[in-house]
């Protein structure tokens, strides 16, 4: 776009009717041209007016928490689709602190070593790859929990906050349940990493035979 002004592009930009390269050029131009910025602002006003008169819905309450997490770290440190999460980091720290006593036995216990590697892989997944989060609906007295999962169903990480005992994670499907493993408390949190190859729509947390929480996963 260079020094050329917008012409008829302001409305097209506001409507999303420009191609990506055109929009990028326009945005760059706007940073140095107050006249065109005002023109685009007027077009934004018109589009926002129309949008505001369409069917309105209440934003889901969990969205606020998700949005807030975006702004907790300085810009530039965040990947687009795998946002850094302070709660996740806190959970990871709690988990690692909880694992410290186990470190003492690590050299002597190959199986525990393997488990730690799996959990480390889980934390790396959470920190570096795109994922979604679903919250468990807990029955009274059950600890809050959530599941982070890959959009393609290739892995799941179930996290239980403030768990006092191990809970079993189950996949609920077609009236049946498949036990996937146990989320065992380490410090203040329990975690279970589940590498999988398929998408699971519903997970449950079980205390013995009793379902204490369930989560619906969206795909």
């Amino acid at each position: 776009m260079g020094d050329t002004h917008l012409g008829d592009l302001a409305e097209l930009h506001a409507l999303g009717a420009l191609h990506a390269d055109e929009s990028a050029a326009l945005e760059a131009h706007l940073r140095g041209c107050s006249d065109c910025a005002a023109q685009v602002a007027a077009a934004h006003h018109d589009v926002a007016l129309v949008a505001s008169m369409e069917t309105q819905r209440n934003a889901p309450p969990q969205m606020a928490h998700r949005i807030e997490r975006i702004f907790l770290i300085p810009p530039g440190r965040r990947s687009r689709s795998a946002p850094f999460s302070w709660p996740m980091a806190g959970l990871a720290a709690a988990f690692l602190i909880g694992m410290l006593p186990s470190l003492y036995f690590w050299k002597q216990n190959a199986s525990l070593h393997g488990a730690m590697l799996v959990q480390t892989a889980a934390m790396e997944r959470l920190a570096t790859t795109p994922h979604r989060t679903a919250f468990f609906r807990a029955t009274p007295g059950a600890p809050p929990a959530e599941v982070a999962y890959a959009p393609d169903g290739s892995w799941y990480v179930v996290m239980v906050h403030g768990a006092s005992k191990a809970l079993t994670v189950a996949w609920m499907h077609g009236g049946a349940r498949t036990l996937l493993g146990s989320a065992v408390p380490r410090g203040t949190a329990a975690m279970l990493y589940l590498p999988k190859s398929h998408r699971m729509d519903q997970l449950a947390l079980m205390d013995g035979e009793r379902i204490v929480a369930d989560a619906q996963l969206s795909w």
């Binding site: 409305e11 409507l15 420009l18 589009v47 949008a51």
Partner: protein, 186 residues
């Protein structure tokens, strides 16, 4: 956490200065509008949530994405979210969903039904008052999420003509909605 000032201008200024609290406050103020805007384009709650979150994350990553010279923050955010939603829909190619949402609109976009009494049909009623060629071009852009070149190809009109029709149509539509009195110009 810094307490949020009450004025929209103060929030907009802090948003332009890239203050985290202002981003959070802006979301709180406009959450339902932004979510609804995304939902109305994408037609699904999960996708709308992803869209709004991605739009905010994108703005957070770009230090000079917004300045007060860009006008009202609310309008700016609506357009950002809407454009993100349109981009996603193009990528996903989910035209079928759009078609069902636009069931009241004939394929040719030459006529619009007026039978639905609810508030959102004020937009459609206002659209009806536009000259047919402006209405068609604007509907293809706004509802179908098509680019100007796609609209020009579909309507077999020069690109410049399409741009002008969309520009004029949008201005008339907004003016009619604001005033509540539709300008009858055929």
């Amino acid at each position: 956490m810094v307490p949020a000032p009450e004025g929209d201008d103060a929030v907009a200024a802090a948003f332009a200065a890239h203050r985290g609290w202002a981003f959070g406050e802006a979301y709180r103020r406009y959450a339902s509008l932004l979510y609804s805007t995304a939902y109305n384009v994408l037609g699904g709650s999960e996708e709308a949530q992803d869209c709004v979150a991605d739009a905010f994350a994108r703005l957070w990553r770009i230090p000079d994405a917004y300045s007060t010279a860009r006008g009202n923050l609310r309008n700016f955010l609506v357009v950002c979210v809407r454009n993100e939603a349109i981009s996603r829909r193009r990528q996903l190619g989910r035209q079928a969903r759009l078609e069902s949402r636009l069931a009241a609109m004939p394929p040719e976009h030459t006529e619009l039904k007026l039978s639905d009494p609810i508030e959102r049909d004020r937009v459609r009623r206002a659209l009806l008052e536009l000259p047919a060629e402006q209405r068609t071009a604007l509907a293809l852009a706004y509802y179908d999420g098509k680019t100007h070149s796609e609209i020009a190809a579909e309507l077999r009109e020069p690109l410049g003509t399409i741009k002008s029709r969309i520009k004029l149509g949008l201005r008339k539509l907004a003016s009619a909605l604001e005033s509540g009195a539709l300008t009858r110009e055929r």
